[in-house]
């Protein structure tokens, strides 16, 4: 990734040439920008966005203090590490801050360089260690969750909170109480807050996360795609960046719940997770956009974004779709993975094995959902999309419930065992969740989990919950009860429906650039595109044909090519153009269980007979371009306007010479 290798840039502000030279030399590992006046310093700090600022003496006395206040209160620079570095000694007494100013200093560090230290650069580097100090200060401003996840000797723990509905509710007090305890306890690295859980309105996770950050914990914002379009997502991300919130968990989100104001809310799903991750990655590199015919590059953000995956799928077609989409998420820039909740150890291990086999180095957090019997029964009945509790597990929960404590001790012990297994099998952390669990209970899970971690292998047998005929991606390792690195045979033998055979034929004829039909049609359609009445007729005919065949809703940026002619815009309630969401069950759509098959299950089954099922993972489909809404997608394809044309390199017709005015 481009920004990972970027050289650290430090802005040195000081009006004395000797000071600039000395600091510049001592920071030779960094790229140094220098400013010799307040105006220049402020302009560079704002326009160049250095990673850290070193501020010394500015002519005249008091100017540096004034600039420091502007940097601290400035929107762009308020979170940039600021180090005040002054020259010591009597000669410089009138070039230092007054004590009054110093006592009002709002900086990350203060360093005096004595005359002795400044005698040589090597001495200066050694005694003052400015390079290290800047690196440490930058680290303090960075995501500590990232640091924990990437440190192989650390195990990162996140705790999920559910924001209640309403503005002033006890639920919110409880969240802040939990946060306060977590901040004091020091065992939890980040607090995550779900985004309108269940698809119903709740207090905004972003707003709550700002409070959580203020209360001393690092937040992890869940960003679901259900309720916001791409503009709103970008705008929220900008706000979060400004508040210093770094960690984002990108998910598709449950389908809209029925408990919103006067009926079910309009499901948005404008971007899917791979495309949100692409957006975040571009923002991290400095998003470019066009205004007034110029390309403007926005200042880079510093998000640490992760994604989800649901390995707990029964069918081959379902599971392959999950991994196809995970591949796109990782390639789009997902930096960590939190799987769907589940209890089958071999399935959790499957993700690690898949990452290893595919050479993806992405940390995974064990999802530990503390499961009481009631919730287990609900999940067993497919009550919560994508959450699997098998009959065997439910029977065990029922047995445990007979204890005097109604199974409470067993429930938390199980959670601790999952922690131990996660740590043992090589996960980088644990994501702990559960309805109404207290900080003390979370601490028990961590402590007990740590205690059990050494014997994690002996615990795997307790988390053996395969679904009936459930598909696993890899062959089982009988010894450990987990997976080998050998892919299991994919034995499903679906038959392509007649309709698909027909569309394939039509596709080859009409939409392959090399086909003679395409070559003949291209100039004809070019003429149609510039006409009025023929264009209307074409629009109408295409729409009618595609409504009857594919339930077309005329988005104009057709994705039928990408989904084996199952329209994601009209057939998928979440408009997923890059792979399935996590909500399917036994191949059925989350929104229409036992009624409609997931479109990605359909697509897989259509492609497999042609050995083309890997096409699902081959490329990331960009989000639908709503500029094309209600226009002919055939024209858009032929004229090089839609995403497929762009992917296949179909060029728009040569522009005719513009008539002279």
């Amino acid at each position: 990734m481009e920004n990972e290798n970027k050289k650290t840039r430090v802005l040195v502000i000081g009006s004395e040439a000797a000071y600039q030279e000395m600091i510049g030399k001592s920071l030779d590992e960094f790229e140094v920008l220098s400013a010799t006046s307040e105006d220049e310093g402020l302009a560079l700090a704002r326009n160049e966005r250095p990673d850290a600022i070193v501020l010394g003496y500015l002519e005249s006395r008091g100017t540096a203090y004034g600039l420091h206040k502007k940097l601290r209160s400035g929107w762009i620079t308020k979170n940039t590490p600021l180090l005040i570095v002054e020259m010591g000694g009597d000669d410089n007494a009138d070039k230092r801050w007054t004590r009054q100013e110093a006592l009002e200093m709002d900086a990350d560090d203060y360093i005096t360089i004595s005359a002795d230290d400044s005698a040589s650069i090597s001495l200066l580097k050694e005694t003052i260690g400015l390079t290290e100090k800047i690196t440490v200060r930058m680290g303090e401003r960075a995501s500590s969750m990232k640091g924990k996840l990437l440190d192989p000797n650390d195990f990162c723990v996140t705790w999920e909170q559910i924001p209640g509905r309403g503005a002033f509710e006890i639920a919110h007090e409880e969240v802040l109480d939990n946060v306060a305890k977590a901040a004091t306890g020091g065992k939890i690295d980040a607090i995550s807050v779900t985004d309108n859980p269940g698809g119903n309105p709740a207090l905004s996770t972003e707003m709550l996360c700002v409070q959580i950050k203020k209360a001393g914990m690092e937040p992890l914002v869940h960003l679901a795609c259900r309720d916001k379009n791409r503009s709103e997502i970008e705008s929220l991300l900008c706000g979060m960046a400004a508040e210093g919130i770094k960690n984002v968990l990108v998910l598709t989100g449950d389908y809209s719940g029925s408990d919103a104001f006067e009926g079910l809310a309009k499901p948005v799903f404008d971007l899917d997770p791979p495309n949100v991750l692409r957006l975040v990655e571009k923002m991290n590199q400095g998003l470019e956009h066009k205004a007034m015919r110029k390309t403007i590059k926005l200042a880079a953000t510093d998000f640490y974004a992760g994604a989800c995956v649901s390995p707990f799928k029964k069918l081959e077609s379902e599971l392959m779709g999950q991994y196809a989409k995970l591949k796109k998420k990782v390639e789009a820039g997902a930096k960590f993975i939190i799987p769907q909740l589940g209890y089958d150890a071999r399935k959790f291990h499957e993700i690690l094995t898949w990452l290893k086999v595919n050479n993806f180095n992405v940390p995974v957090l064990m999802n530990i959902y503390v499961l009481p019997f009631g919730t287990g029964r609900f999940m067993n009945g497919n009550g919560i999309p994508g959450c699997i509790v098998t009959d065997k597990q439910l029977a065990e929960l029922a047995e445990e419930k007979k204890a005097d404590d109604k199974g409470k001790a067993a429930m938390f012990l199980k959670a601790a065992k999952m922690y131990a297994i996660g740590k043992g099998m090589g996960m980088a952390g644990a994501h702990i969740a559960g309805h109404g669990i207290t900080y003390e209970q979370v601490e028990y899970i961590i402590d007990k989990g740590e205690e059990l971690a050494a014997n994690w292998k002996s615990l795997i047998a307790e988390f053996d919950y395969p679904q009936d005929d459930g598909f696993y991606l890899f062959e089982k390792d009988e010894e450990s009860g987990l997976n080998t690195e050998v892919y299991a045979e994919r034995t499903s033998r679906p038959k392509a429906p007649l309709m698909y055979k027909f569309t394939r034929l039509a596709h080859h004829l009409i939409f392959e650039e090399k086909s003679p039909v395409f070559k003949i049609l291209k100039p004809v359609l070019g003429w149609v595109d510039n006409s009025t009445i023929p264009k209307h007729i074409m629009d109408y005919c295409e729409h009618m044909a595609k409504v009857s065949m594919f339930n077309c809703m005329n988005c104009g940026d057709c994705a039928l090519f990408d989904t084996a002619y199952v329209c994601p815009m009209s057939q998928c309630p979440k408009s997923q153009r890059n792979g399935p969401c996590g909500g399917s069950n036994d191949g059925w759509c989350e929104v229409y269980p036992n009624e409609k098959k997931c479109i990605w299950v359909q697509a897989y089954d259509r492609l497999k007979p042609y050995h083309e099922e890997d096409n699902i993972a081959a490329y990331t489909v960009p989000p639908c371009n709503w500029q094309l809404w209600q226009t002919s997608s055939w024209l858009n394809f032929y004229m090089g306007r839609d995403h497929s044309a762009k992917r296949l390199g179909i060029k728009p017709p040569e522009p005719k010479e513009t008539p002279k005015k």
Partner: protein, 288 residues
């Protein structure tokens, strides 16, 4: 309850530093002081502390007294000769300013008038003796006064000194007490143990020790104090706590509030809160 009676009753006194404005408008100063007047026993009015030119302590203290706020006025040795010092003490006495804190005055070099001339005709003990003398109806020239003022006298003591400096400081403190000081204000404390060597040599039954609680602003400010003022000990844990905090300002006020509680717990006679520019945080620090 006046500061004096609070001391006599042996209750924990809360003093709050209230900087006079650098200008002629006292409204901001009053706006910070008035809302907390019920929680504060005396507003300490520094006299050009940190060697920054400001409105005179006498003027600011009169303005606060006029609003019914009890003040403790600082008077420094740095800026006036003995005549001017005595004259201002008489003025203070006449205007109802009964609490006087004698201070040496900060070095002019650290302030905004490094070119100014320091007077220092009287030292701290001599200044206290002068005030004591006025209370007895006689000026430093040995001449009688028409009437004598009455003060509760205090002084600052560099309780964080060590080594030879500490020996000297204890001598000065004892002389200050002999010269009439009834309470001593220490430099900012972040760890009670850091002034133990000083406390061991002072009779705490007869001397009221008032440590300063300084509101930190940032890790940088704390590191400045650590590097430039050897009489103030800031433990690394305190600086680390600010560094690691997400809400640094809140952590700073938390540290001050916790220190205030610790001093009360440790049995000190009171504490003086110094916010230096962050007066708006006072309500938060004083919150129960």
């Amino acid at each position: 309850m006046s500061l004096k009676s609070k001391f006599e009753a042996g209750e924990f006194a809360i003093l709050v530093e209230t900087e006079p404005p650098k200008g002629a408008d006292i409204s901001t100063m009053l706006a910070h002081a008035e809302p907390i007047k019920d929680q504060v026993d005396a507003f300490v009015v520094p006299e050009m502390s940190n060697a920054i030119l400001r409105m005179s302590a006498l003027g600011a203290a009169i303005a606060l007294q006029n609003k019914g706020l009890e003040t403790a006025m600082q008077i420094n040795c740095r800026d006036r000769n003995q005549l001017a010092l005595q004259a201002d003490l008489l003025a203070a006495g006449a205007c109802g300013i009964n609490n006087i804190i004698a201070v040496p005055g900060d070095d002019l070099k650290i302030g905004d008038h490094p070119q100014a001339k320091a007077v220092n005709e009287l030292n701290l003990v001599e200044l206290l003796q002068g005030a004591q003398s006025l209370q007895q109806g006689e000026d430093l020239g040995g001449n009688p006064l028409s009437s004598a003022p009455s003060f509760l006298l205090g002084a600052t003591a560099n309780a964080g000194a060590c080594g030879e400096e500490l020996t000297q400081e204890i001598k000065t403190s004892k002389e200050s007490l002999a010269a009439g000081a009834q309470f001593l204000i220490t430099p900012p404390l972040f760890d009670v143990a850091s002034i133990e060597p000083y406390l061991e040599q002072i009779d705490r039954k007869t001397t009221k020790i008032i440590p300063t609680v300084l509101l930190l602003k940032s890790a940088g400010m704390a590191r400045y104090i650590k590097q430039t003022q050897n009489n103030i000990i800031i433990p690394d844990q305190v600086i680390d706590r600010i560094r690691k905090a997400n809400d640094k300002a809140k952590t700073c006020t938390d540290i001050a509030r916790e220190m205030l509680a610790a001093l009360k717990e440790a049995g000190f006679a009171g504490a003086m809160i110094s916010t230096v520019g962050w007066e708006h945080k006072l309500t938060e620090i004083l919150a129960p």
